[in-house]
Symmetry: C2
Subunit: 119 residues, 2 copies
C-alpha cells in the first residue's frame, strides 16, 4: 500500500508546524486514491521526526512510501540530510522508500510566484 | 516605478542561491509589465542581502518595491526577520515597500503539492 510522507524543516513556531500538518490533511482529500496513508514529518525541531513519520506510515500498513520534501531549494537539507536519514532508516525496515523531487523543482513554482506577485 | 524583490533564505550551497537568481530572471519574462525591475536577495549567507537588494531596485529607478518572501511557512524569518529588516531600511529611504504574502500562503501551493505527489 502506497503512503506519502510530507517532510518539512520544522520550526520553533508551532504555528508553522501546524501549517504543514494541515497541508498533509488537505492532501489526504486530494491524493487519497493514490496514497491511502499520508502523514507529515520534520527534519528537525518538530515532531514527528522523519524516522518516526516513516514508522507511522508502516504501522498504518504502508509497503511503499514516497517522501515529499517540502523545501524550495536544493540546499544541504534536500541534497544530503533527508537522503541520509531515509537511507539509514531503510537499513532496518522492509519497505520501499522513494524521495520525490522537492517543490522548488516543479515547473508550477514559476506560475505560483507570478500569481503571488501580480495579485 | 514598480519593482519586485524576490527574497530567499540564502544557502551555503551556491547552486541553491543560483536557483533563486534564475527564478528572478524567469520572473522578468513573466512579470515585466507589472515590474520593470526585478531582483533577487537573501536573508542571510548569500549576496545581495535584503538591504543591498532594495538599494539595487532604487538605483534602477524604483519608487515602489514589492518584497516577495520565497518561503514556505510563516516561521520566524517570514513573521519577524524580513519585516524588521524592511522596516529598518525604510527609515532611511524615500521609497514605498510592501511585503507580499509568502508562497506557502497561496492556494496554488496545494495544487503544486498534488502535482508533485502524483506525477
Amino acid at each position: 500500500m502506497n503512503s506519502l510522507l510530507l517532510v518539512a524543516h520544522g520550526s520553533r513556531r508551532e504555528q508553522s508546524n501546524e501549517e504543514v500538518r494541515l497541508l498533509a490533511e488537505k492532501l489526504k482529500h486530494r491524493c487519497g486514491e493514490n496514497y491511502p496513508v499520508i502523514h507529515a514529518a520534520f527534519l528537525e525541531i518538530a515532531n514527528p521526526l522523519i524516522p518516526a513519520g516513516l514508522q507511522k506510515c508502516i504501522d498504518a500498513g504502508a509497503s511503499k512510501i514516497t517522501v515529499l520534501p517540502y523545501f524550495l531549494n536544493t540546499g544541504r537539507h534536500v541534497a544530503e540530510d533527508i537522503p541520509e536519514i531515509v537511507e539509514a532508516f531503510k537499513q532496518n525496515a522492509d519497505v520501499e522508500i522513494n524521495i520525490a523531487a522537492h517543490l522548488g523543482a516543479s515547473e508550477m513554482m514559476l506560475d505560483l510566484l507570478v500569481g503571488v506577485a501580480v495579485e
